[in-house]
Amino acid sequence: MSKVLQIKDLHAKIGNKEILKGLSLDLEAGKVHAIMGPNGAGKSTLSKAIVGHYDVEVTEGDILYKGKSIKEMEPEERALEGIFLSFQNPVEIPGVNNAYFLRTALNAKRKHEGKEELNAAEFLRAMKQHLQELGMKSDMISRSLNEGFSGGEKKRNEILQMLILEPDVIILDEIDSGLDIDALRAVSEGINKMKNGKRTFLVITHYSRILDYIEPDYIHVLKEGRIIKTAGAELVAKLEEEGYDAIEEAQ
């Protein structure tokens, strides 16, 4: 069993408040891991810590990616190495053409991997199929990045980036929030298409709804800054029924 991401006794704060209090978690390569937990448990902080978000200060512990510590790495280096975060609320960037942004990101990655950069025509050809699959209108990529996008469009655009960048570890932070059933289905299909037995998913959610579409291999329960339980998919039903408090009692 190869562990692609190992989080070891991680302590992290936002501002002066300690949010992660000795969190340990191993992600097995090629599997879908779901993190569930009540509001304020530290789910988003965990995803931010992994990608090197400026809000989060790691005070103790370590994060190993493919066996190497990434704690000191710049966010863009972590991204280029294959870690992708689908944001809960993707930010709008006025005037920056979506296609131009996507191509820049793709070419940064290709360059990093020693591959040739794609020109605009090659890139657009590659895009066409992805857009169709996600049920995105082709004018979405000629608009400004996320500007004026609906909640569903923003999430689809996140998945589009994921499809293009082909990351090794994908963190989906509340990917289902604000999605109607059609959007949820399209987004889930995009995600499922990415499963290839090697790629690893970390699905962060506090509703089980998304897990009906993306079947998890493991469920980790995050509470008060620590993982308090890890189990198979059967845990979802129990959580639905009994809530997170029951888990604590069970410990």
Partner: protein, 477 residues
């Protein structure tokens, strides 16, 4: 995010700060009537011009330096400036231009050898106080177009100069215009005859080289009925600890159905982050849409200068005439800019558009100041203004002063203003997709400037983008 990091990204080195060592003839610092007579004599000007200069000087002496702008700077000592500096040998042809000057222009990316130039761009190169070379003049002559230095125009086309110079910016218009009128040294004159569409882009490149010298150029462009011209100016100066004064005047005139598109890429030396050195840029630019259906469009990308004080304006006199102002002004380091436009609607159904984008970083202070004035006869006048400011970091500032005077109640005036910050969130988003921080900043800034850059002729849009990157993107170049 730590602001220091961001500062490194936005404190771009000035790349054009070199100085060439050539033999010059420079008058000692100081300004009196004799200085003006000396300049006029140097330029072998006719008596009437000398007298106009002296008249302007007399007016200037009665005026006071204006201080209403949102700018702070050390007082300017007008007696410590040298008002004329020229390379010693006056060239008759390109072969006679000092090779060091040619080299300097080449370094700036402006080869003066017509063979090596970008196709379709004619250049007037002004070095300190004189025009050293105007390219493609003969070619343009065939179309009846006059494209020469203003000094030549005074000698060769006195009737046009007498008719149009000071007709849009009167010599006593303001303190700096009056000073310029007295001591202007060189600049460009363009005349496009009736019905002619100028077949190439015209441009002037201004270079300050000599120490302690002011540059006072004067540009006059006249587009006769139905004519069209696109004109571009660029400028740069060596890196120096002393401030240098640049006080220019530009006058544009369009007759019936004529159009002038005037683009500026201003990259004078900005000084350092403590405010030491840099050009004081006090410029008066104004266009008169004299004839019906005429159009004047100003596009400016202002990245340089320690101080910028400039308001390219349009007087919309002809019915249905159109005025446009597209501006990107960048202030980083300790730069200050107070810039904007005046749109004066006099004719019927006149329209104007103002798109202003101010970018401030480090200790930069950026002010938009604009006036939209609608006269009593200007029925159906319309204006749309949009002023956006982008802040990078938290030590800089953006200020907006829109003024509106309307004597006509039917006019339609819209004004929108926004201020936004390059947020840490935006930067992080791009970085999480593998885009380096510098590239991410530049991507956001370019996105912000898009509407203005799209107005520039293509070659210049490329230059403007590159310049913005140099200005904001740190020292890796």
């Amino acid at each position: 995010m730590a602001n220091k990091e961001l500062d490194n990204v936005v404190s771009g080195d000035y790349k054009l700060g070199f100085e060439v060592d050539i033999e010059t003839e420079t008058v000692p610092p100081g300004l009196d009537e004799d200085t003006i007579r000396f300049i006029s004599k140097k330029k072998e000007e006719p008596q009437w011009m000398t007298e106009l200069r002296l008249k302007a000087f007399a007016k200037w002496q009665t005026m006071e330096e204006p201080h209403w702008a949102h700018l702070e700077y050390e007082p300017i000592d007008y007696q410590s400036i040298s008002y004329f500096s020229a390379p010693k040998t006056a060239p008759e042809s390109l072969d006679e231009v000092d090779p060091k000057i040619l080299e300097a222009y080449k370094k700036l990316g402006i080869p003066l050898d017509e063979q090596k130039q970008l196709q379709g761009i004619a250049v007037d190169a002004v070095f300190d106080s004189v025009s050293v070379k105007t390219t493609y003049s003969e070619e343009l002559n065939k179309h009846g177009i006059i494209f020469c230095s203003i000094s030549e125009a005074i000698q060769d086309h006195p009737e046009l100069i007498k008719k149009y110079m000071f007709s849009v910016v009167p010599m006593s218009d303001n303190y700096f215009a009056a000073l310029n009128s007295a001591v202007f040294t060189d600049g460009t004159f363009v005349y496009i005859p009736r019905g002619v569409r100028c077949p190439m882009e015209l441009s002037t490149y201004f270079r300050i080289n000599a120490l302690n010298t002011g540059q006072f150029e004067r540009t006059l462009i006249v587009a006769d009925e139905g004519a069209y011209v696109s004109y571009n100016e660029g400028c740069s100066a060596p890196t120096r600890d002393e401030h240098q004064l640049h006080a220019a005047v530009v006058e544009l005139i369009t007759m019936k159905d004529a159009e002038i598109k005037y683009s500026t890429i201003q990259n004078w030396y900005p000084g350092d982050e403590t405010g030491k050195g840099g050009i004081y840029n006090f410029v008066t630019k104004r266009g008169l849409c004299k004839g019906d259906n005429s159009k004047i469009s100003w596009t400016q990308v202002e990245t340089g200068s320690a101080i910028t004080w400039k308001y390219p304006s349009c007087i919309l006199k002809g019915d249905n005439s159109v005025g446009e102002f597209y501006s990107v002004a960048v202030t980083t380091l300790a730069q200050q800019a107070d810039t904007g436009t005046k749109m004066i609607h006099l004719g019927k159904n006149t329209t104007s558009t103002i798109i202003s984008k101010g970018i401030s970083a480090m200790k930069g202070q950026n002010t938009y100041r604009g006036l939209v004035k609608v006269g009593a006869q200007a029925d159906g006048a319309r204006n749309y203004s949009e002023c956006d400011s982008l802040l990078i970091g938290d030590q800089c500032g953006a200020h907006t002063f829109p003024y509106l005077e309307s004597k006509d109640t039917q006019g339609q005036i819209e004004h929108e203003a926004t201020t936004s910050k390059i947020s840490d969130e935006q930067l992080f988003y791009l970085r999480q997709r593998g885009i380096r921080e510098e590239d991410a900043v530049s991507m956001i800034v370019h996105g912000f400037c898009k509407e203005v850059f799209s107005q520039l002729p293509m070659e210049y849009a490329v230059e403007a983008k590159a310049l913005l990157e140099l200005t904001l993107e740190g020292s890796v170049g």
